[in-house]
């Protein structure tokens, strides 16, 4: 009652107060009011002793009250109604979510597998033989986990990958043998490819993209995640891929699609070929077969994927039309000239995923989870260094005369052409001048050749080997003659494909062969020449990415020592001017992959730049064209 907040009921009525014990104290004349939130008006009553009825507090009255004690029979106590408050604790089990793993992830049974009793195949306690190269123990302790790609949304699908054991454990428990223990970054590459349906492995040349792709394919095949793989590569690299499959996945049968039309049709259609290798050119010939709606690949891998950088090329169109579930691209140069190169590779991976008009930051964000690129200096800290030496050579007098007259006449001719002038005309002049920088057509004199001979003397004397690159077969043949005493080998477009492996083998094994002469086209990709410590770029390619590929034939895993790259150029000539442009392009590539932003939209060699090599103005009709020259 004391805690009621109703003002009316808070004051005792006189009638009620009669029964309350009286108190004569003044203080007791007042209502002792309960605590209320509403102000209460206290009424004063007359102090007539006869009529006055005192209002007292309850406890004061209780002091004078006789204590009434009620006695009960002891037998009746049991009948007292004692009420208990029941507090219920949450006792129901927590809610759970879960999943059973499909058996498909299990690696297929190996010959020496034993049943683990669960209906799945187990292995004995055999240890994976690891070729110890000093770091093997350290690598054994490493654990590389497969991470779900960002575009995987369903929790169950993500947990499927999150809960897989480290790759090292998978490899060891399945007794997968490798010729040598993979580097940690190579395991990371496998972990990157393994769960992805669209991926670009863009490691720098020489880091083992081939091995990483093959090992991932091997694991996916053994895990029965794949059954039908197509690998497309440039024709000269087919034998290299077959050899690498034999090395890294010896138990996987590989079918090379080749031969006449009937044989190829049979090879395309056979069901028992888990891995097919075909070259780009062949795809064009077999387009009708590939259009078969029943043909489907679980995975299509493009090697040297920069081959499809031109969206409208027939090769790119055919490759994009291949029916497939997964798409991977391997390339050391996802951007050779412009960001469009990357956009067009993504057209193969996921049409429409990238658009040319996207800014660089947006492209970087969209592609981050789909591209893996490592460079040697970041992952191979123990790898020998690559040293560049730019040799600026003075033309011989006869070369200089030939060069000067050719350039002067050429420029005059170009200027005279007026509006008829096209970029092809400029290219022709550039090529003619570059050839003169190599060898004087009149006398055969060559400042580069003189320097190369001197360098080769030293290289041969120390028992080392060198690679010389040129873009012309004629130049290579001209180089070969003065270098006869160094046993020059030749590897270019005029050497039949079937002889090429033999050339490489002989160059590698014959100690009298100190130099191999290669064209950029034939020798810049896919070859392992890490036993060479010297690379000469006798003339320069338009594109720095192609030059990098060429250099990395020697500077790759297994390189014996530092690789010295000599970039030869004739001073104060068109070569030097092109060199400056190439350096700018190299800077672009580095900028884009460093995600620093602020990169120009296109760093390709524009028509203005090509014409600018000769201080020519771009003809008006050509200026509107957005075609890139290189």
């Amino acid at each position: 009652m004391f805690h009621r907040s109703d003002a009316q009921n808070d004051s005792f009525s006189p009638k009620e107060s009669r029964n309350v014990s009286r108190d004569s104290s003044a203080a007791a004349r007042q209502h002792i009011l309960p605590q209320t939130e509403v102000p209460v008006k206290v009424e004063e009553w007359p102090l007539d002793q006869e009529n006055v009825e005192l209002f007292a507090t309850g406890w004061q009255g209780q002091l004078e009250r006789n204590l009434e004690v009620e006695f009960k029979d002891a037998n009746s106590i049991a009948a007292l109604d004692i009420s208990c408050l029941q507090i219920r604790f949450q006792s129901k089990a927590p809610k759970t979510v879960g999943m059973l793993f499909p058996e498909g992830f299990e690696f297929a049974p190996q010959a020496d597998a034993v049943d683990d009793g669960a209906g799945r195949n187990d292995k004995t306690k055999k240890q994976l033989p690891v070729q110890d190269d000093g770091d093997a123990q350290k690598r054994k302790r490493r654990q590389t986990r497969i991470r779900p790609p960002d575009d995987l949304v369903k929790l169950e699908d993500r947990l499927y990958f999150v809960l897989q054991p480290p790759l090292e454990t998978l490899v060891a428990s399945a007794n997968l043998e490798f010729p040598f223990a993979p580097f940690p970054y190579q395991y990371e590459g496998i972990a990157f490819l393994f769960p992805r349906e669209m991926a670009i492995l863009a490691d720098e040349m020489g880091l083992g993209k081939t091995m990483q792709a093959i090992s991932t394919i091997r694991m996916l095949l053994l895990a029965q995640q794949l059954r039908n793989v197509l690998l497309v590569c440039p024709k000269p690299l087919v034998t290299n891929w077959v050899r690498e499959f034999g090395l890294w996945a010896p138990e996987i049968p590989v079918t090379v699609v080749e031969g006449d039309a009937a044989k190829r049709k049979f090879l395309w259609e056979r069901k028992d070929a888990p891995v097919r290798i075909a070259n780009y050119e062949l795809l064009m010939r077999d387009q009708s077969i590939l259009d078969d709606p029943e043909l489907h690949f679980d995975l299509v891998v493009l090697d040297e994927a920069q081959r499809i950088k031109n969206r409208n090329s027939t090769t790119a169109q055919i490759v994009r039309s291949l029916p497939r579930s997964r798409s991977w691209a391997l390339t050391g140069t996802p951007i050779e000239n412009t960001v469009d190169d990357l956009v067009n590779i993504f057209e193969f991976l996921s049409p429409g995923y990238l658009r040319s008009e996207m800014n660089l930051k947006a492209i970087g964000k969209a592609t981050r989870d789909h591209i893996l690129r490592r460079t040697k200096d970041k992952v191979l800290t123990e790898m020998p260094p690559k040293m560049f030496r730019d040799e600026q050579l003075e033309l011989t007098p006869s070369q200089f005369d030939s060069y000067r007259s050719a350039e002067d006449e050429g420029i005059v001719q170009l200027e005279d052409m007026g509006e008829m002038l096209t970029i092809q005309h400029v290219f022709e002049l550039v090529l003619r001048l570059k050839q003169i920088c190599n060898f004087d057509p009149a006398t055969g004199a060559s400042c580069k050749m003189e320097q190369l001979e001197a360098d080769m003397e030293e290289i041969a004397a120390s028992g080392k080997k060198a690679i010389v690159f040129s873009q012309w077969v004629e130049t290579l043949e001209s180089i070969a003659r003065p270098l006869q005493r160094f046993g020059p080998m030749q590897y270019h477009g005029r050497i039949p494909s079937k002889q090429r492996d033999g050339v490489i083998q002989q160059f590698k094994e014959d100690p009298s062969k100190h130099v191999i002469l290669m064209s950029y086209g034939a020798g810049s990709v896919g070859l392992n020449l890490q036993f060479c410590e010297y690379v000469f770029l006798f003339d320069r390619w338009w594109n720095p990415a192609v030059e990098d590929q060429a250099v990395n034939r020697a500077h790759r895993i297994g390189a014996k020592g530092a690789v010295t790259v000599t970039r030869m150029m004739a001073a104060d000539t068109i070569e030097q001017r092109i060199h400056d442009v190439l350096e700018e392009k190299r800077a672009l590539f580095n900028q884009l992959f460093a995600e620093t932003g602020g990169v120009p939209k296109s760093a390709g060699l524009s028509q203005d730049e090509i014409f600018g090599l000769f201080n020519l103005k771009t003809p008006k009709p050509a200026k509107s064209s957005k075609d890139k020259a290189a």
């Binding site: 507090i87 604790f89 949450q90 089990a93 927590p94 809610k95 759970t96 979510v97 879960g98 999943m99 059973l100 793993f101 992830f105 299990e106 683990d116 009793g117 669960a118 799945r120 187990d122 292995k123 306690k125 240890q127 654990q143 986990r145 779900p148 929790l155 993500r158 947990l159 999150v162 809960l163 897989q164 054991p165 480290p166 454990t169 998978l170 060891a172 428990s173 399945a174």
Partner: protein
């Protein structure tokens, strides 16, 4: 021996409560089954009633029991990296062993999940490659644990699966990841 190893762990989040995860592996460390709980937050009444034994009750009797009962595959042994789960031993016939992980901070650095503590009395198992303990009151747990572990591959890393469990918990409950 048909080995099925259960890895059971619980992590505590200051805001969301307790999260339990149970991963069953075969002898090759391949995943067979996984279950995790939704967040479990003890009530105030439970906190008062259980006092210092609250973690044992929530982790061992509630979360661990629910997860083990939910699993379709029965584990040969259950290994945990948090002591309170040893309380599960009262409810299951499989041996439950606590592994004192060498790298206590193995949990993701980006996580706000911590291991709950306990005052349960444990008994270390000597002579094993790993630092394992069983509940002191369970007299035959030690022998059964040793028997099961003797069938394990030498290269089987019994610490590594807990990393998977914690990562799976973070994957299933993204809110527990640190900003």
């Amino acid at each position: 021996m048909d080995l099925k190893i259960g890895f059971l762990s619980v992590r505590q989040h200051c805001e969301h409560g307790f999260f339990g995860g149970y991963l069953l592996l075969n002898a090759l460390a391949r995943p067979l089954e996984f279950h995790c709980t939704l967040p479990v937050k003890p009530s105030r009444a439970q906190e008062l009633l259980y006092g210092p034994t609250l973690n044992d009750f929530v982790c061992g009797e509630q979360i661990a029991k629910a997860l083990v009962e939910k699993a379709k595959i029965k584990a040969t042994i259950i290994i945990t990296d948090v002591v309170p789960i040893l309380a599960l031993q009262s409810f299951t016939s499989q041996p439950v062993a606590f592994l004192k992980c060498e790298k206590g901070a193995r949990d993701s650095a980006a996580s706000q999940l911590v291991k709950p503590k306990s005052n349960l009395s444990t008994q270390p198992l000597s002579g094993l490659a790993h630092s394992l303990q069983v509940l002191a009151s369970e007299s035959n747990a030690e022998e059964r644990t040793r028997e099961v572990l003797s069938h394990l591959r030498e290269d089987f890393d019994i610490e590594e699966p807990f990393q998977r469990v914690v990562e799976a918990l973070l994957e299933a409950h993204p809110a527990t990841k640190a900003a």
